[in-house]
Symmetry: C2
Subunit: 182 residues, 2 copies
DNA sequence: TCATTCTGAGACACTGATGTCTCATTTGAG
DNA sequence: CTCAAATGAGACATCAGTGTCTCAGAATGA
């Protein structure tokens, strides 16, 4: 028995990303368990979404850790980061559209921690002369999230090849669309 | 009397962007009308969202037309486009998270028309040697949407100044985060 | 083997949103 | 002013989703 809690969360994320209005019954069926068991694991839909958020944050933080973003050139750090973040992109896309998470006044502090890490990375790149200074680190952080989510959607709809996801995000974020002579 | 249908739609968009789970009653109150009248104007929540989508598409197409994206350098066309698209960004952000719109098999053809226009713009830029060719026009289009939505969110949460929205999107999309010698 | 624990299926009541209706009131045109 | 049209407020039934419960059956471990 022993329901694999994490597997349930992954199935839920996968379904909810495509259909955020999915029923608890649909979520349960997608996870291969019964609605009763789903309710035993997560006390209500809200708790499920919160757990999803918690898992997403944890995986993002793990990705940040693996990418060792404080070492070496900031541009390379961004490349590693996006690479590591790629598997989390789908879940991020769901959480991104779940703005219910951000309207309460008890937002998960994990996002602030993550933001701080990324903002620090971009600021480091600016201070090292790698990144332009007319775009604020906060905006660059938001843009990174946004591009990641957009790319996940595009892949999900078959408009972009999965293998191109990470390079697309990285190249656009760092280099932009214009041709430049480096 | 004569309820201003468009004003109702704008109020609904403004509310639904922040709280996509808002009740029809809340929407009505936000628009300054009664729930009965709201239901007289839009037969059900679904019809309301569809009308919102229709309005969003129309405004985007109007913005595209005003930006005359087929004239002059593609980069300048993108700048004009983002400038014109800025007022629609909030509504776009709502529609972007309303993935219910895209799961049915009767998607609004307006999106395809818009996509085609933008894809053509980026392709033109590539053929003119302005844009790099290792990022597909489809991806650049998705990235434009994504950055616009991210920026709208960032502004909405006070992380980015409203006046910087358009330049942030344009600069990042075209030039990227790296410092380059042009 | 037995006992414990967990699961699945179904039934149940409850809640909240929705759509519809009525009726008094207000608005605006003629 | 007069009247038709539209609005607001409220009541109402309906419905889908939810959370809880029970019970039988399966899995697990001693």
């Amino acid at each position: 028995m022993a329901v694999d809690r994490e597997q349930v969360l992954r199935a839920a994320a996968s379904l909810l990303m495509r259909k955020s209005s999915a029923t608890m019954d649909e979520v349960a069926r997608a996870a291969g368990i019964s609605r009763a068991t789903l309710n035993r694991q997560f006390a209500g839909r809200d708790a499920l979404v919160r757990a999803l958020e918690e898992l997403g944050i944890a995986e993002c933080e793990a990705a940040v850790a693996r990418a060792v973003i404080d070492d070496g050139p900031a541009a390379d750090a961004v490349r590693r980061l996006v690479q590591e973040l790629e598997p989390v992109a789908r879940q991020l896309a769901f959480l991104y559209s779940e703005n219910q998470l951000f309207e309460g006044d008890k937002q998960n502090a994990g996002w602030a921690r993550l933001d701080a890490r990324l903002v620090a990375l971009f600021r480091r790149g600016q201070e090292a002369g790698e990144f332009r200074i007319d775009l604020s680190p906060v905006w660059l952080t938001e843009a990174l999230y946004g591009l990641l989510v957009s790319a996940a959607w595009a892949v999900c709809e078959g408009r972009v090849a999965p293998k191109d996801l990470s390079s697309n995000v990285t190249e656009l974020l760092l280099g932009g669309a214009l041709r430049t002579q480096k």
